[in-house]
């Protein structure tokens, strides 16, 4: 089983994407199945093992929170752009990571870029720090606390690392 299906999630994703891109016919489903089984076996050797999702339900909650935050982020940045009078107060913030695995850090960095007024600027993985550029922030410590509470803790629980 492990040899035949090394990465079940990747297989599922490949199947879903192939079916999404083409029409829903039995032939396409067969082709998608073959590709979903074959590609993971072919690329297995290049693939570094990543931490697996331990709490799928938490992941779902995380995605929903993220989608909501993206909408809020847009409204907030729009307000800043349209408020012509006020100059924003930008900042570079050094965020100390408590995650260590590359894949969760990638998700965290992407999340930071998609959510209110922050963009992840640079990662030093050996130092365990992430540089963040914030568009309009007064209190940098509050931002760090918020990111830790809202995104990093759930990610830690999801990946159990």
């Amino acid at each position: 089983m492990k040899r035949l299906l090394p990465m079940p999630l990747l297989s599922l994703l490949l199947f879903a994407i192939w079916m999404g891109l083409t029409a829903l016919t039995p032939g396409n489903a067969l082709l998608a199945l073959v590709l979903a089984l074959l590609i993971p076996i072919l690329i297995r050797r290049f693939w570094e093992p990543q931490p697996t999702v331990h709490r799928p339900l938490k992941l779902l909650v995380y995605v929903i929170v993220l989608l909501w935050d993206i909408i809020i982020a847009n409204l907030e940045v729009s307000r800043l752009i349209l408020a012509r009078r006020r100059e924003p107060q930008p900042a570079f913030v050094l965020y100390p990571l408590s995650l260590t695995e590359p894949f969760p850090i990638t998700i965290l960095a992407s999340t930071i870029s998609l959510t209110p007024g922050t963009i992840s600027a640079h990662l030093r993985i050996h130092d365990g720090t992430l540089l963040i550029h914030a568009l309009d922030i007064e209190d940098t410590q509050a931002l760090i606390d918020q990111i830790r509470r809202r995104y990093e803790q759930p990610l830690k629980e999801i990946f159990q690392c």
Partner: protein, 123 residues
């Protein structure tokens, strides 16, 4: 130009129209953000967020429209939205790094310092 089938319920039509116009507005605000701010790092924020949501709204409208009209519920547009949501942070990250590498000017109000790139730790 047969884009108004009779059976398309008015409120669904309204929803699609709303999504289209909202998408357009977000795109314009994102472009305004690109024009308005003083330094490069601030300018990145507008497009990185608003353009994505703008196009996301349009894609949602398109998906809804084709779903209602032809019964095609494959949701292929969601794939583009998903792809954009994955790629935008990556390109924003790389652009910021490029900006820091070129030591671009930033406004005096900026708190904190960007890195000086180029040391061995950044490899």
């Amino acid at each position: 130009m047969t884009f108004m089938p009779d059976w398309l319920a008015p409120w669904l039509e309204g929803l699609i129209a709303f999504l289209l116009v909202t998408g357009g507005i977000f795109a314009v605000i994102g472009a305004l953000g690109l024009l308005r701010f003083r330094d490069f790092f601030q300018r990145l924020h507008g497009p990185a967020k608003n353009s994505t949501l703008g196009v996301g709204c349009t894609l949602l409208a398109s998906m809804l429209f084709f779903w209602l009209q032809t019964g095609d519920h494959s949701g292929r547009e969601l794939l583009i939205t998903l792809f954009l949501m994955i790629t935008t942070p990556v390109s924003a990250h790389l652009l910021t790094m490029t900006g820091m590498h070129h030591r671009l000017r930033r406004t005096e109000r900026t708190q904190g310092e960007p890195y000086e790139l180029g040391s061995e730790r950044d490899r």
